[in-house]
């Protein structure tokens, strides 16, 4: 597999905001995160068992939740669809092991690592910033760490994953929308800038 890091990431050129300009939110790109789309039936014992054997934990079967173990995570995207994420460059190995284990089953594993980049937004203002352009109910009673959802932010399609109670969010967005969304987020965060 080609070395992705040679090509640069979608937000390499995003020099704004400079580090520390916002007191209550931090922007960061997590480039080259490994991403696999895993499809199979959650009603099939065999599919769930094999997936658990490879990943080391059970795929989440509750809608819009995430299972995490070390550098592996599985995000529920649909009743027969998950996104498995891992550290850059590790996805090929995971994909190969899943493929081999799922031979003969009605299942699919697709490497979509280049299909989206990840914007990490962390800090006490992160929720308020997202609420300016996202139709999801992000109230801490409703959307908590370990939750994920596919939705829209400022009309761009995103997968949102809340990591912790800071709150920290990971936003998965298509490369072609990344710079637009980054610029929108920086603008939405303007009121939290220092002086």
């Amino acid at each position: 597999m080609a070395d992705r890091t040679q090509w640069g990431s979608p937000l390499d050129a995003a020099s704004w905001p400079p580090r520390g300009i916002f007191a209550t939110v931090r922007f960061e790109e997590r480039p080259f995160v490994g991403k696999l789309i895993l499809r199979g039936s959650a009603d099939t014992r065999e599919f769930l068992d094999v997936s658990r054997a490879v990943l080391g934990f059970a795929l989440p079967t509750t809608a819009n939740t995430v299972a995490v173990d070390g550098d592996l995570a599985a995000l529920w995207l649909g009743p027969r669809e998950w996104m498995v994420t891992t550290t850059p460059e590790r996805e090929a190995d995971i994909a190969e092991r899943l493929c081999r284990a799922l031979v003969g089953q009605h299942a699919a594993v697709t490497d979509v690592s280049d299909g989206r980049t990840v914007i990490r937004l962390a800090g006490p203002s992160a929720r308020d910033i997202l609420m300016k352009g996202c139709p999801l109910d992000l109230h801490p009673r409703e959307f908590v760490p370990g939750r994920c959802a596919q939705s829209q932010l400022a009309r761009a399609q995103i997968i949102l994953h809340q990591i912790d109670e800071t709150p920290t969010y990971d936003l998965y967005v298509a490369p072609s929308f990344a710079r637009y969304l980054w610029a929108w987020l920086v603008d939405a965060a303007a009121e939290y800038a220092i002086a």
Binding site: N64, P135, A149, Q150, Q157
Partner: protein, 93 residues
């Protein structure tokens, strides 16, 4: 703006959904022996009622699943939602 309860994800804004027209329209089993009139009926004729309407929606920006909605076309009230392949629930008028 409608708030549509996806049977998988729960209530979401209408902007996340795509509309799929009237539900429960079965494709003729044998197109070769179907008359032009019946075929046209299948392709083009829809109820367009004033009131309760069973229709298909897809959670396009979410879990991407198709499902059925019973909606009042006058009040926009969503009476019930149910998954593909499930029979329409009995709904009180």
């Amino acid at each position: 703006m409608l708030r549509i309860p996806c049977p998988y994800c729960g209530p979401r804004d209408e902007t996340e959904f795509a509309y799929g027209g009237e539900a429960h329209i079965a494709r003729p089993q044998n197109p070769a022996t179907t008359t032009d009139a019946d075929w046209a009926d299948f392709l083009f004729m829809r109820k367009n009622p004033k009131g309760r309407h069973r229709e298909r929606w897809m959670h396009a920006r979410g879990c991407r699943q198709w499902f059925n909605v019973e909606r009042d076309t006058v009040t926009h009230q969503i009476v019930t939602v149910y998954r593909m392949g499930e029979p329409p629930p009995e709904t009180p008028r």
